[in-house]
Symmetry: C2
Subunit: 329 residues, 2 copies
């Protein structure tokens, strides 16, 4: 199934089902008013949602309407918890090499994750409003899973059964603010403002064979101001999402609707490009002794999309502009 | 006003008003079903809630019933965002001195804060279930404020007007897991499981003169297994809550219902005791060259309470046991 949250439903959106090819949608708010409500009552609502989704795909629903991504909020506009990993080791290793950072002991055995702001996500076509270009505005293309309630002590072996939905996001990052926050040991607050999400959340079966080993086995296409920036393969993720879930549930249960992220997609092969500017800058640092690419300016655009084996868009595209908060772009 | 959330209302509780002396309660769920809903619609519901609260205190409501803290969830059982500061500098300084940690540059000018888990708070009399004593189980007595929506870029001068409620909490901490998480720079995930809260949330006016300069100007009484552990004065907080709000809203807005915490209450004078075991251990380290107090064992209890100038309990007491998750205490 594919889900979106229409803006007319208020802060949490109005739940709709979206056809597999992303052309049509149908209201689902009579089954569950919001996507969060659907995840919280998944066992009770799944069958009815699935039935309507199949009818939508067969073109049988007179109530269906054209799907317009610009009318959507993030599929999950806000949620109880956002835990973002850094599961692609080549990203961290490149950063360490470029900027002479100490390697993190056990980084290949213990998933790295921080708790982020889940209270106010941004829609796929909406502007990202930020206070200052001097903060080092960057995008991060990544994936995340939405789980139902995960008990304390859930093992990796049991974790994938809790994955109800997969989403694709732009984890907006402010690079000038990150180093000090990391030195404190307390993690990111100012350096990680609200994230933006691709139009639809999908159930794992929508990925077919491309959902395997707790990983999205597809490339993520990233463009910056209309030019290709990278298309790294997400299957290269060192840890599977099941391992991240086990890590985060080690000392507490995770409420239904919790969102767990992969961190920026990154490959060992630099020829595929990157899913964030800071990684390109690290490659430049290693190659030229200096970073040559500047961070984003107000007015810049970023676009992200994932195509399936048949060439169709899976999550729809993020396509958004960076603007000055309280001002004009 | 004083609010609690009764357990019979499901995961988010059923909103009740509680009398100033904490003896009586009356349903308020017809005005706002939950405390989160009340905070999200504060301007619309405040007058009606206030009217009923005054009638409750005058003993005029036939529908009032005896207030029982063991029937309550945390006043805000879960919320969109939990940002916990470390606003008492004597705590960090003592830790640094005892364990030879590097001081954090600018710690007296920039509030320290991490993003915590806000998805699953624990009630005031409910057990805290954790997987292992070897994790170094500790309590942290602290305060937090609940805000309405705070715009991006909110200044400290404008921030206190967004404080709708004040709460008192036990920020459960797992000390053996914290050092590695701090070294990664990503902050706490496993080391900060779910926190527990005193029975009622109060509006700032309930504190009278004891709410001043964005600080709770009262001591916090902490007992461990029935013995006094400390009663540090919370007015010694180096930063006010308004400064923490400004810090956290620097690059993003904070949704209504966001919770911002003080960190463990701590005083420069060690004679007042501490609000967490790790601080007592630091004092012992400085005095004896070794920590002599062990962390909590399953079956241990912790109690926290704040008395007003008239000797009455302001938030009600946290009084809870640590138990083994999935097992018996």
């Amino acid at each position: 199934m594919k889900f979106a949250s229409l803006k007319e439903g208020g802060r949490d959106g109005r739940l709709v089902l979206v056809s597999r090819d992303l052309t049509r949608a149908v209201d689902a708010s009579d089954i569950a008013p919001t996507l969060l409500a659907a995840v919280e009552a998944w066992e009770e609502v799944e069958a009815e949602l699935e039935q309507r989704y199949q009818a939508l795909n067969r073109g049988e629903l007179d109530s269906a309407f054209a799907f317009a991504p610009e009318r959507t909020l993030a599929p999950l506009p806000r949620t109880w918890q956002w835990l973002d990993g850094s599961l692609f080791l080549s990203h961290g290793e490149r950063m360490q090499k470029a900027f002479n950072l100490d390697p993190i002991d056990g980084a290949d055995r213990i998933p790295l994750a921080y708790q982020g702001a889940g209270d106010d996500f941004i829609g796929p076509r909406d502007p990202v409003a930020l206070p200052s270009e001097a903060d080092g505005i960057d995008f991060e293309g990544e994936f995340a899973v939405i789980v139902d309630e995960v008990p304390l002590g859930c093992t990796a072996a049991a974790a994938l059964a809790h994955v109800r939905l997969i989403v694709q996001l732009n984890d907006v990052s402010l690079r000038a603010l990150a180093p000090r926050e990391m030195v404190t040991g307390f993690g990111f607050v100012q350096a990680k403002p609200s994230s933006a999400f691709a139009p639809v959340a999908v159930t794992p079966d929508e990925l077919g064979d491309a959902w395997r080993d707790g990983r999205v086995q597809l490339p993520l296409q990233v463009e910056w101001n209309g030019e290709r920036f990278g298309n790294p393969f997400a299957g290269e993720m060192h840890f599977g999402f099941h391992q991240l879930i086990e890590h985060c549930a080690r000392t507490r249960r995770l409420s239904a609707g919790s969102l767990l992220g992969s961190g920026t997609v990154s490959n060992a092969n630099p020829d595929v490009g990157a899913a964030c500017i800071s990684e390109r800058r690290a490659v430049e640092m290693i190659e030229f002794g200096e970073p040559r690419t500047s961070y984003m300016r107000f007015g810049d655009r970023v676009r992200m999309e994932v195509l399936g084996p048949d060439g169709g868009s899976i999550f729809g595209a993020i396509d958004q502009q960076i603007v000055q908060a309280g001002g004009t772009s």
